[in-house]
């Protein structure tokens, strides 16, 4: 597709429940990035993929967060045993090459708003 598609748009989970978010990158884009936007609009990098391989996972909380990008499937971000502080908007972005450059910008989806109650 021509846009990064994220589902669901909204997700509500009770504390301790699992949450799974999906992202379909733009066709032909090799890189996928996950960001978390919390209060005061702060964006935090979580993880990036080059095709199905983890490229950089230095932003991922190790204990409860995991992510995958499998061939012919949407990418996913899973949070086991959600906590109140996980409430945020999770954005997926894709780029043709390793993004952040003029020749290969990041294209963001519209995000999934996760509310943990």
């Amino acid at each position: 597709g021509e846009e990064v598609a994220q589902t669901p748009k909204h997700l509500v989970r009770g504390e301790g429940q699992k949450a799974k978010l999906y992202c379909a990158p733009i066709k032909g884009h090799s890189y996928v990035f996950w960001y978390q936007q919390v209060l005061k609009n702060e964006f935090k990098f979580l993880i990036s993929f080059q095709n199905e391989n983890v490229f950089d996972e230095t932003g991922m909380p190790k204990e409860r967060f995991s992510a995958k990008c499998l061939p012919n499937s949407p990418c996913s971000l899973e949070i086991q045993a959600t906590k109140l502080e996980d409430s945020a908007v999770y954005f997926c972005a894709s780029s043709r090459l390793d993004g952040g450059s003029r020749s290969s910008p990041l294209h963001f989806g519209n995000g999934t708003r996760l509310t943990v109650t």
């Binding site: 990035f33 990098f45 490229f55 230095t58 932003g59 390793d98 952040g100 003029r102 990041l106 294209h107």
Partner: protein, 115 residues
């Protein structure tokens, strides 16, 4: 850790006024990007500045990258209600071999333009 400080955090102006948003760091960035984000949507890239001292214009928006590549500004002339949104600056890490998509974002400037 590279940090980007944006100011002001909030800006409320009348249609037709001019404004400037600043993005400052103590670190050198190889490039800086400016995004605009509307409620319920993801950030949309406006411009990337790469060369120190670079000035780029996008209709009524003028972007500058500081000579030392530590700061940038966004100037909007004759603001319109359609300019309302969250403006974010962002930059990639400088260390070689790391992901350029791993952006550091500023805190954002919420701009409201009243008709």
């Amino acid at each position: 850790t590279q940090l980007l400080e944006q100011s002001p955090q909030f800006l409320s102006i009348q249609e037709g006024e001019n404004l400037t948003v600043y993005c400052n760091s103590s670190s050198v960035f190889s490039s800086l990007q400016w995004y605009r984000q509307e409620p319920g949507e993801g950030p949309v890239l406006l411009v990337t500045v790469v060369t120190g001292g670079e000035v780029k214009k996008l209709k009524r928006l003028t972007f500058q990258f500081g000579d030392a590549r530590k700061d940038s500004s966004l100037h909007i002339t004759a603001a319109q209600p359609g300019d309302t949104g969250l403006y974010l600056c962002a930059g990639p890490p400088n260390a070689g071999g790391t992901s350029y998509g791993k952006l550091t974002f500023g805190q954002g400037t919420i701009l409201t333009v009243h008709p």
